[in-house]
């Protein structure tokens, strides 16, 4: 068991590091701005998301007194659209599109003892800010695999604490937890290059994609990944819709 798991760790680290290197080796293609958009849907009945019992912390319980909180592994809109799916480009990006992480500072908030957003996607090297809107102490504890180059840390945020600014070095799917509130669980999905996250209707749009041929990957925390080929032509957006089978 132990042998297997550390093997998986090393292998995943290597695959992540090396695929990053591969992407960087690509030649620069024609410049220009375009996008890839589409919808991600769930095929079949959405699995039941259990309600969360927060009585251990009266502050949290009170915040959800009228509407209990539920687990967020699968969040489906009325039209079957799947929320919180991360879309990113796994093949075909020119080096110019990877040179610099976006300047936009992302926000990962602790609100009513839940993470908002539940899934935060970001570019490697992009700054994010961890904030707390709560009147209770949280500890924010991301758990990357240190073999990737991303190092775990664990900081408290009592009520009124200043935001914590951080970034991640390497592409990786990083679970985030609060040890004080064991139900709190979120994700930092670190990719290389442009990305998008689906909204409540399952829609997404990856912007700043120059014309070219790409592989687009959709990641969902429970269902894993799917990849499709898509072409962005000058003045014409690429489209890629995905469907995950309900389990």
């Amino acid at each position: 068991m132990r042998k297997e798991s550390s093997f998986a760790a090393v292998l995943s680290a290597v695959v992540l590091v090396c695929s990053g290197a591969l992407i960087l080796n690509q030649k620069v293609s024609a410049a220009g701005e375009g996008k890839i958009s589409g919808t991600v849907r769930l095929d079949g009945p959405a699995p039941h998301m259990k309600g969360i019992e927060m009585s251990k912390d009266p502050y949290c319980a009170k915040a959800h007194a009228n509407e209990p909180a539920h687990l967020e592994q699968v969040v489906v809109g009325s039209n079957g659209g799947l929320q919180n799916v991360v879309l990113y480009i796994t093949e075909g990006l020119p080096a110019s599109a990877l040179a610099e992480a976006p300047k936009e500072v992302l926000v990962f908030d602790q609100k009513n003892c839940m993470y908002t957003p539940h899934v935060l996607a970001m570019d490697a090297g992009q700054t994010f800010k961890v904030t707390s809107s709560d009147q209770t102490t949280h500890n924010i504890h991301p758990l990357p695999n240190p073999m990737t180059g991303n190092i775990p840390w664990n900081q408290s945020q009592p009520p009124g604490a200043a935001p914590i600014e951080k970034s991640w070095k390497a592409p990786e799917v990083i679970p985030v937890k609060c040890n004080i509130h064991p139900w709190m669980n979120g994700w930092h999905v670190v990719v290389k290059g442009p990305y998008a996250v689906t909204d409540g209707s399952g829609n997404y749009s990856i912007n700043n994609v120059p014309p070219g041929n790409y592989a687009v990957t959709a990641w969902q925390e429970l269902y894993g990944t799917q990849t499709q080929k898509v072409t962005v032509a000058a003045g014409k957006a690429g489209t890629a819709d995905f469907t995950f089978k309900a389990k």
């Binding site: 798991s5 998986a8 992540l16 695929s19 664990n154 009520p159």
Partner: protein, 288 residues
């Protein structure tokens, strides 16, 4: 273990769809300790050499930490908490901020002190040179020591005079930042979050019980205790409070923690004279 495997297979799933690695990366899959055998440590004027610790490590440490430093020695099944996996490069007892490597001196001190509430023995019989070599050997297991430098040790101002006011102020810090959520209002490791605590590898872990008489594993001096909550114990739920407790308040908190401990102390006597009450977990945040 299963959760750890699941977590990392998920990672693998996310990674697998990316293109195959170029050939130049293949060598990364080989866990190459030999390339780091030149690792050194620097303790004051002593330089430790990893290669000189090989025999001592095999004799004294392998049984728990394993030949490859992965914590998978033959005693693994019988030891709890589990022997540390040195390949991950994550350490509890540091003078450096959370998320950074410890200094050589930190590891040097740990090896001599041992880790209370664990099977990690005290190793006071080695000479300083031998211990410095062992520090270098421990470091050579993780690539982190090649790619990163240790963090900058936190600054600890001189310890002020203990007063009843400071003990009271320390109690207010314990309440405000909610140490009691894990450690309990009386320090008995029975706070509302205590039962569900797990370490970074998803193994159950207990918060420190101040009242039992066991020594803190990262040292028993006031400065050691100050360091614990200002750096956090990496790999465990114990977070860093460096951004939220000012240095002066941190000393107040140390004095208050002494009142919770069973060992007799000046702080304990003062608290008794004060009739100091424990924090009230039901008061609104900031007023416990």
């Amino acid at each position: 273990m299963r959760t750890r495997l699941q977590k990392w297979s998920l990672l693998l799933g996310a990674a697998a769809v990316l293109a195959l690695p170029p050939a130049s990366c293949a060598q990364l899959t080989q866990y190459d300790l030999e390339s780091r055998i030149g690792m050194e440590s620097h303790i004051g004027s002593i330089t430790g050499h990893a290669k000189d610790a090989k025999t001592a490590y095999r004799r004294y440490c392998t049984g728990c930490h394993g030949d490859l430093g992965d914590g998978n020695g033959e005693n693994f099944p019988w030891v709890d908490p589990k022997p540390r996996d040195f390949q991950l490069g994550i350490f509890k007892c540091r003078s450096t901020p959370t998320g950074t490597l410890p200094t050589d001196q930190d590891l040097f001190d740990t090896i001599a002190r041992g880790l209370d509430r664990s099977n990690m023995p005290q190793w006071s019989t080695f000479t300083k040179e031998e211990r410095a070599d062992l520090v270098a050997w421990v470091k050579h297991f993780s690539p982190r020591w090649v790619n990163e430098k240790p963090g900058t040790p936190i600054e600890i101002p001189p310890e002020p005079e203990i007063t009843p006011e400071r003990i009271k102020a320390g109690r207010d810090v314990y309440a405000r930042v909610q140490c009691w959520k894990c450690h309990g209002v009386l320090g008995q490791a029975n706070g509302p979050s205590a039962a569900t605590l797990t370490d970074d590898l998803s193994r159950p872990i207990a918060a420190y019980n101040f009242t039992e008489g066991s020594r803190p594993k990262c040292g028993d001096t006031d400065r050691d205790i100050y360091r614990v909550f200002m750096t956090g114990l990496d790999g465990t739920p114990m977070p860093s409070f460096a951004d939220n407790i000012k240095p002066d308040e941190a000393w107040d908190l140390v004095f208050y923690l002494r009142t919770l401990m069973s060992q007799p102390s000046k702080a304990k006597t003062m608290a008794k004279q004060l009739g100091l009450k424990p924090v009230d977990p039901n008061a609104p945040a900031g007023q416990q």
